[in-house]
């Protein structure tokens, strides 16, 4: 069976810029690539006919197939350095917090390699701490418990062959019967390549001269869990000396013996790891493990890692982390100078297999080609990349109210689990996934399959094409970098069907735009919800800490609510004084995925301020049709809430009703659980179409529903939702200012 996957190295391009496409094709000799501009989703019945337009370019060609592999699993590495050479006697020690101690042998630290050379600390098949010296192994014989801190140390005296191993649980407030363990043995061991790279959380398993492999070094035995204050000495230390090395500062009297004295509390936002010893055995981490996580000495007295990094000196490694597949480009495409701004993709096909590698073409920076812009939710698309968890348990069906659905491209996630998961998932050790990268094949960023995010936003593109007014496509990534300047040329900016994830820079830019007369059409539901942080060195990677509450696939551990990339507090914008109702008039109230409903016009729809909106729209019921489960109101819905910031002068012109039992009040609205939380019983659950004016001639229109976009194409755009929305677009695109009501 042929399999094909790929990704683009850039997400947003200006005319004249070049994108490189990385591909992997298995089971065929060649594949075909075409650059396409996407104009509608492949959504089936009720939707417009699927349209993708091939761009004339030499990049459209047949390419030889080759397999490019992905290497998941995070680890730390100190490159081969002089100080690491000639180690004979040694002591290794660290605080460790294993999360899957029973998952089979795993590395903690050292130079040990699967070939049987080097030395290292590890966990054996039973979950016990273990020392390895060449072919020699000695374990504590006592399995460690999951998610408990231990001091693990091992010493080896090359002259006598004496080996000692300590495994000591750290005191905490839990009750357990564990006791410190110390075992001894004799080793006549060889450490043939003791000068090799020193690794944390992985062993070397071979060499592979491939750009996709970090340092041409294959790794295995990836550790799940946390490592804190790792140390390496060139002598077999006694227990008192080991204790001295557990301090945060290098103790006097051991300077000569210490080789590595790593402080993972340094440079938490970066990929660097820092050695405080005179040897400066600095290194880096690979595949973005979680940092800014509580360490062995976290007391609960501090919740913010930036205030006391020493309580956050641990790195949490996972065997399924992946931040960059590091594939090599197969071909490139230079955006023509006259290319239309839009949703583009490299479409890869081979036999029956296909895969889209999306990217966007925006106007040249500082220019605009239209008065209308659609802001593609590239941050949200990235955060959702490779959402696997929704397929792996029946719980999904419980809250969606229907059988889970996938397509052939989704199944690639299970055939190639090394492509990693999304921030909607948990790692293999059950910890929440807090970072997501776009630099890998992404199975749910495509114009087909589940109608969600990217696919739903193509409904809006399809409608814009139908309306026929010029428009530009811009992206979240552009907005984060360029701020308000990106938006200023436009009379109206449309946000997507589900623009859920926003950085502070993005939100401030939108706020400033709206205050300066910009018009905003919020075309979806559950937007402006979670705060995110972009990686400081690589914007393709985004972090989200799911703190406090909200509708969430996992919850951040207590004490870990601050992003590692920026030090900013994570969680809902609602919890940080920026509730979505402030910017858009509406905010998330419920979700359900079995059936969508309709809106009913309110008395406020008769207000002369919104007469433009209802020109030619006479129906009282709006959107009782749609590609997305039969209605315009549904999936995830928002309502006005004046207590949370809906402007006092906002008009709610239509509200949805008649939602099903699966629509439950969002978690952040529930202080005390009770039996009337579903939409059948709870009138609070509704989508509100909302309008209000902003200073300097601006205005905001919000649909409050993800499903809204799916109603636009019904009957060839001849319906009350398309008519109403087009009225808004045309008025918002005019230069004529809106007046704030007196």
């Amino acid at each position: 069976m042929t399999r094909i996957m790929g990704y683009a190295d850039r997400v947003s391009l200006q005319p004249g810029e070049t994108v490189r496409i990385m591909a992997s094709c298995i089971g065929a000799k060649s594949y075909r690539a075409e650059i396409v501009r996407l104009l509608s989703p492949n959504a089936g019945m009720g939707a417009s006919e699927y349209r993708e337009v091939t761009v004339e370019t030499p990049a459209n060609a047949t390419y030889p197939a080759r397999e490019q592999k992905m290497h998941a699993g995070s680890f730390g590495v100190v490159p081969e350095k002089w100080a690491l050479k000639g180690v004979e006697s040694f002591t290794l020690q660290a605080y460790v917090w294993p999360t899957t101690p029973k998952k089979g042998p795993r590395a903690i630290m050292g130079t040990w390699a699967a070939s049987g050379s080097g030395y290292g600390l590890s966990i054996d098949a039973e979950g016990a701490a273990e020392i390895r010296i060449g072919a020699f192994k000695l374990a504590s014989g006592v399995p460690m418990l999951e998610r408990r801190w231990y001091l693990v140390a091992a010493s080896f005296d090359a002259k006598s062959g004496q080996v000692r191993l300590w495994q000591e649980p750290i005191y905490d407030k839990s009750f357990h019967a564990e006791r410190p363990v110390m075992v001894e043995g004799k080793a006549r061991a060889s450490m043939a390549d003791a000068g090799a790279p020193f690794l944390f959380a992985a062993w070397r398993s071979g060499e592979a001269p491939s750009p996709t492999v970090y340092g041409n070094m294959l790794t295995t035995g990836h550790f799940n869990g946390r490592i804190d204050r790792p140390r390496l000495a060139r002598k077999a230390l006694d227990r008192a000396q080991i204790q001295a090395l557990t301090a945060g500062m290098l103790p006097s009297g051991l300077e000569e013996e210490v080789l590595g004295f790593w402080d993972f509390a340094k440079d938490i936002s970066s990929q660097r790891i820092t050695d405080l010893s005179p040897n400066r055995l600095d290194g880096e981490v690979v595949n973005v493990p979680a940092r800014a996580v509580t360490g062995h000495n976290w007391t609960g007295s501090e919740m913010n890692w930036t205030k006391d990094p020493q309580q956050y000196g641990a790195i949490h490694f996972h065997d399924d982390d992946i931040s960059d597949a590091k594939w090599q480009p197969d071909f490139s495409f230079t955006v023509p100078k006259d290319a239309k701004s839009g949703f583009y993709a490299a479409k890869l096909t081979s036999d029956e297999a296909y895969f889209y590698c999306p990217f966007f073409v925006r106007p040249t920076r500082g220019t605009a080609n239209a008065k209308i812009a659609f802001l593609a939710s590239t941050a949200t698309y990235t955060v959702y990349a490779n959402n696997r968890g929704r397929f792996t348990k029946m719980l999904t069906e419980l809250y969606q109210g229907r059988i889970s659905m996938m397509d052939a491209v989704d199944i690639l996630q299970f055939e190639f689990p090394e492509m990693g998961v999304s921030t909607y998932d948990r790692h293999t050790d059950s910890s929440g996934v807090s970072t997501s990268s776009r630099l890998r094949p992404v199975t749910n960023w495509k114009p087909h399959g589940r109608l969600w995010n990217y696919c739903c936003d193509l409904f809006i593109v399809d409608w814009l094409e139908h309306v026929g007014m010029p428009y530009d496509i811009i992206t979240d990534h552009d907005l984060h970098v360029e701020g308000q300047d990106l938006l200023r040329p436009y009379n109206v900016v449309l946000t997507g069907s589900h623009p859920e994830y926003w950085s502070l820079e993005m939100l401030d830019a939108l706020d400033g735009y709206q205050r300066q007369g910009g018009r905003h059409m919020y075309m979806g539901g559950n937007g402006f919800y979670w705060r995110i942080a972009f990686h400081p060195e690589n914007m393709n990677i985004i972090e989200v800490r799911r703190s406090e509450d909200g509708v969430r696939a996992w919850d951040a551990r207590v004490g870990e609510y601050y992003h590692q990339f920026t030090g900013e507090y994570g969680g809902l914008w609602r919890r940080q004084g920026r509730a979505p109702q402030v910017a858009t008039g509406v905010g998330f109230i419920s979700q359900g995925f079995d059936a969508c409903s309709y809106y009913r016009r309110t008395a406020q729809a008769k207000d002369p301020r919104v007469a433009f909106m209802f020109d030619g729209v006479t129906d009282e019921i709006l959107g009782n049709f749609g590609v997305l489960q039969g209605g315009a109101a549904g999936l995830e819905i928002d309502c006005a809430d004046f207590a949370l910031g809906t402007p006092p002068h906002a008009l709610v012109v239509a509200s949805s009703e008649n939602h099903s039992n699966t629509y439950i009040l969002v978690a952040e609205e529930i202080n005390i659980g009770h039996g009337a939380l579903d939409a059948v019983q709870n009138a609070q659950i509704r989508a509100d179409i909302t309008f209000f004016e902003t200073p300097n001639g601006g205005a905001v229109f919000s649909t409050g529903s993800i499903a809204y976009a799916g109603s636009l194409p019904i009957d060839g755009f001849n319906n009350n939702i398309a008519k109403l929305t087009t009225n808004v677009l045309k008025r918002f695109a005019e230069d004529r200012p809106f007046a704030m009501p007196r």
Binding site: I403, M406, D407, F414
Partner: protein, 99 residues
Amino acid sequence: MFKIDPSRLDVAKEFKARPFGEHSPELQYVLNYMRTRQTSQFEVLVMTEPGKRWVLGFMPTGGGVPKLTNQTFDRLEDAEWHVFKLRWKHITGHDLPIE
């Protein structure tokens, strides 16, 4: 704890008539019971033509490649009813005497 009463064919008929949307409390209990069972695998639909055709598959709980069957549907309502009947039989031990 709630258990499915195999004599309540009215509940099954309600589901067949309207698999999506508002359900009676009795039917919602039945669906919640079906969807919260501990099972080694569960039913999924694999879409083979966008919005037009789906194949029934069984997904290992916890992840894995779904095992596809020969059962195909061109309406999601039919797929829901087919799976409802399978689950009813599995849980109650009784076939649903409703086509």
